[in-house]
């Protein structure tokens, strides 16, 4: 009789693989930085044998766990929902857990996302980004007294802000924005997305306050509509459209 292990584990012993025929060798080039080693960044390159469908974040793990333990990056869920592993991958901001080896083979170049201070390797200082988020009052404002049950909201009103509820604060959008690179005071696309999520929520009464914040010189009118943010969003949010909707709302409100 087959043992439990045999049954659940009929696949070969490899930790990955099985679906796709053959392995590939991926050359991984990473821009390194370690303030304890040098003031300057440098490049390292590794060769990793992997399955074509391996996620890039797991390729980085193979390097870290079996070749160079000093390689440092953030990650957690590894399937595109926690927002930890935003990196500049072959020149585009992406989550390393949503890029597959076969789509970048034979060689991939990875750098930290831009516009935020690099602390070590692919880890950047997220605090300025989070400050931008905090500055737009990213919480429901409604002082009209709490109902016994739920507030009613029609499916149409709910759909109005659906897109911007998807944001995972990964910073792919903000750190792909040329305006943000030039001026960290700009709140950036992610903060505007999160403001949009409340401004267009029929249950929220704080819209005017947020629009006033975003009408200031650090706000939406810094946007030059390059669409980098929309291209970069791993959640498929139409970021530029959301920014345009906020701009239009400000013009209606005439601050």
């Amino acid at each position: 009789m087959a043992t439990a292990a045999d049954v659940m584990n009929a696949s070969d012993r490899q930790r990955v693989g099985g679906a796709s025929p053959g392995k590939l060798t991926l050359t991984v080039r990473v821009r390194r930085y370690n303030p304890e080693v040098s003031d300057d960044s440098w490049w390292d390159e590794w060769h990793v044998e992997c399955d074509p469908l391996d996620r890039l974040v797991e390729v980085l793990h193979q390097i870290k766990w079996h070749q160079d333990g000093t390689l440092s990056f953030r990650r957690s869920c590894a399937h595109g929902i926690c927002g930890s592993d935003a990196m500049l991958i072959d020149g585009r901001n992406q989550l390393a857990c949503k890029v597959l080896a076969e789509d970048v083979a034979p060689k991939v170049t990875i750098e930290p996302i831009r516009g935020l201070a690099v602390l070590k390797d692919l880890i950047v200082d997220m605090d300025p980004f989070m400050e931008g988020f905090r500055s737009v009052l990213p919480f429901l404002i409604n002082d009209s007294g709490e109902p016994d049950k739920e507030r009613r909201q029609s499916p149409e009103d709910r759909a109005r802000y659906d897109d911007t509820t998807k944001c995972i604060l990964c910073a792919c959008c903000t750190t792909s924005c040329p305006v943000f690179w030039g001026d960290e005071a700009y709140v950036g696309p992610a903060a505007i997305v999160n403001a949009h999520r409340f401004i267009f929520d029929s249950r929220d009464d704080g819209g005017r306050e947020r629009l006033k914040i975003l009408s200031e010189k650090t706000g939406v009118f810094r946007c030059r509509t390059t669409f980098n943010c929309t291209d970069a969003c791993p959640r498929g949010i139409e970021v530029t459209k959301a920014i345009q909707e906020v701009k239009r709302q400000i013009l209606f409100e005439r601050f």
């Binding site: 870290k64 079996h66 926690c82 989070m130 990213p138 739920e150 507030r151 802000y161 509820t165 944001c167």
Partner: protein, 579 residues
């Protein structure tokens, strides 16, 4: 240099339970939250399908029906008073989330929409009921975001990327605080507090195939265990039937709630044979075992015959687009499969720890059969064991657990912190932690942590997964002893102070090894099958002997000592569990 901070209350972990507790605490006492991740990175955000409450918005429902399903779903290892209380408080908990802005999907008349979910039934098992409140298939994401937004509003103090490495207790067992490691600098911090709430999540990373984030290494339970706190029902781990093949990434039960079905290699809807009444909406342990049986009898799918399929291709494309967008994308991105047209390869995946730090319904940590309260220590969420989930958690009840018992732990911790004196710190509070870290950092040659982790995950998958035997568990105990010996010789490449994730991952591996010891020991001792714990050599439930919770203590030689305590019964008499 060690920095000492003093707060009235300290929360460890910034997922759903931790932030829900922090909201409650910060309204009345000086509170800090330490978290090894930025709060919105927590794994609550990965929960997909919904959060159950008997709102009755789309059809008749009652909290008592929900409680019954929870107890039956838990294979009667659930503490019944806790289940009744959770089902009762669920209703207000959901309304509270909505008032804080959670964007639930809506019914045509604007109320919170509800859908079906595994094991949730009308009138004690008659038929599936619409009980799960949801926001598309990103309900956990929306709960995490909403709770974080409320923390931002209240200006809750977060210490992000701080790892809790030790629990400080006074000689009489009172909680004095924790020791934390600051990832950015490598410095140790002592956090003194009158109340400490552990909300550190699960530990699925001890298995090769898991839906869990890399961060889920059971830090809270492991730290508590090392300081004398027992761990309850560690053998009870949930293996979710529909993980994405090879990867274990979760495909929500909501897929089946919306009408998706599970198929074998021959395209047969085999759940009709295993659960004739509710079929594909049977609880997760039942479906995972059915998949195992199909594989064993040669009807498994995939190149090696060890997969099944989840089929949603017959659903209305609009339903898929509006209600299941994320899981559809997972299949497209990771397996390059088009779920609207073809079935998706799946396999059971390690998903949820029913066991953990024992607490009462107030969130207070309790020790032993007498349930002596550990002063100043609280736990909530997946790291805790109330026990509302018993031997098998029903889908959606994890998110509910977070908000109901996160709130309760916060309330209790706040009340305690308001009057309790600040306990003295033990002498040299960081000495032990420092010694552990220094030993790892100083060793220049030794075992590779990556190899040990790989072997731990592979062997736990082989020997302690959906189906267990005495032989396999015994073998696993020997393997764990060997891995432990190797871990004691581990050496790492990164010797630095700045963002030394190599060091922290190695410490986390030590936590996983401890917890694997407790899981395997408790599983080997429990010679019956119940819920998520299935023993091929003892396939029946044995209420006469085993209607009791296990408690795993760390003995002085580092081994596991098992003890037991009775299940709290209530209105429901254990019956055979059929669906």
């Amino acid at each position: 240099m060690t920095v000492t901070h003093t707060y009235d209350a300290l929360v460890v972990g910034a997922g759903g339970a931790g932030m829900r507790a922090a909201i409650e605490l910060s309204d009345s006492v000086r509170t800090a939250v330490i978290s090894k991740l930025y709060p919105t990175r927590s794994h609550t955000g990965a929960a997909q399908g919904g959060v159950c409450a008997a709102l009755g918005n789309t059809e008749e429902d009652h909290p008592e029906w929900h409680a019954f399903d929870t107890v039956k779903g838990g294979d009667y290892l659930t503490d019944q008073p806790a289940a009744l209380l959770m089902a009762e408080e669920a209703v207000d908990a959901i309304y509270q989330l909505e008032r804080w802005g959670l964007p639930f999907n809506r019914t045509p008349d604007g109320r919170i929409d509800q859908r079906r979910f595994g094991g949730h039934t009308a009138n004690h098992g008659e038929r599936p009921v619409r009980r799960a409140c949801y926001a598309a298939d990103r309900t956990g994401h929306m709960i995490l975001q909403t709770l974080f937004q409320q923390c931002v509003k209240r200006e809750v103090r977060f210490f992000n990327e701080f790892y809790c490495l030790d629990l400080l207790r006074t000689p009489d067992g009172t909680t004095a605080g924790v020791v934390a490691y600051e990832l950015a600098t490598g410095e140790l911090h002592v956090f003194r507090a009158r109340s400490v709430v552990f909300a550190t999540g699960g530990y699925g990373r001890m298995f090769r195939v898991t839906s869990n984030a890399h961060a889920l290494t059971g830090d809270g339970p492991a730290v508590a265990y090392r300081r004398g706190i027992p761990l309850e029902d560690m053998e009870m781990f949930q293996f979710h039937p529909t993980g994405l093949a090879r990867l274990g990434v979760l495909l929500s039960e909501a897929a089946r709630g919306e009408g998706g079905i599970v198929l074998n290699r021959d395209g047969e809807r085999f759940m009709e044979r295993y659960a004739p009444t509710i079929k594909d909406l049977a609880p997760r342990d039942v479906v995972s075992r059915a998949i195992y049986q199909e594989i064993k009898e040669g009807r498994g799918a995939g190149p090696n015959g060890d997969w099944a399929y989840l089929d949603i291709s017959h659903l209305d494309p609009r339903v898929i687009e509006e209600k299941l967008p994320d899981i559809t994308e997972f299949a497209r991105v990771y397996l390059k499969v088009e779920p609207t047209k073809e079935p998706v390869p799946i396999q059971p995946t390690a998903h949820y720890a029913m066991g953990g730090i024992p607490t009462d319904v107030e969130g207070q940590v309790v020790d032993g059969e007498a349930e002596a309260v550990v002063p100043g220590l609280y736990a909530a969420g997946e790291c805790a064991c109330v026990s509302v989930h018993g031997a098998n958690r029903l889908g959606t009840n994890s998110l509910l657990d977070l908000v109901v018992f996160g709130r309760r732990a916060g309330v209790s911790a706040a009340a305690h912190a308001a009057h309790a004196p600040l306990p003295d710190l033990p002498a040299e509070p960081v000495a032990q932690t420092l010694s552990v870290l220094d030993t790892i950092l100083r060793r220049t040659e030794g075992e590779n942590a990556g190899d040990i982790r790989d072997e731990l995950q592979d062997t736990m998958f082989d020997n302690a997964f959906v189906v267990r035997t005495d032989e396999g568990l015994g073998a696993q105990q020997a393997i764990l002893a060997d891995l432990r010996a190797r871990y004691d010789r581990v050496a790492i490449g990164d010797k630095g102070a700045v963002y030394n994730t190599d060091l922290m991952e190695t410490v986390e591996l030590g936590f996983l090894l401890d917890l694997a010891d407790t899981l395997v020991a408790a599983a080997r001792a429990r010679t019956e099958s119940r819920g998520g714990h299935y023993r091929e050599d003892h396939p029946l439930r044995d209420d006469a002997t085993w209607l009791r919770h296990s408690l795993a203590y760390r003995s002085s030689d580092g081994g596991v000592r098992l003890d037991y305590k009775p299940v709290k019964m209530g209105p429901y008499i254990p019956m055979e569990r059929k669906y």
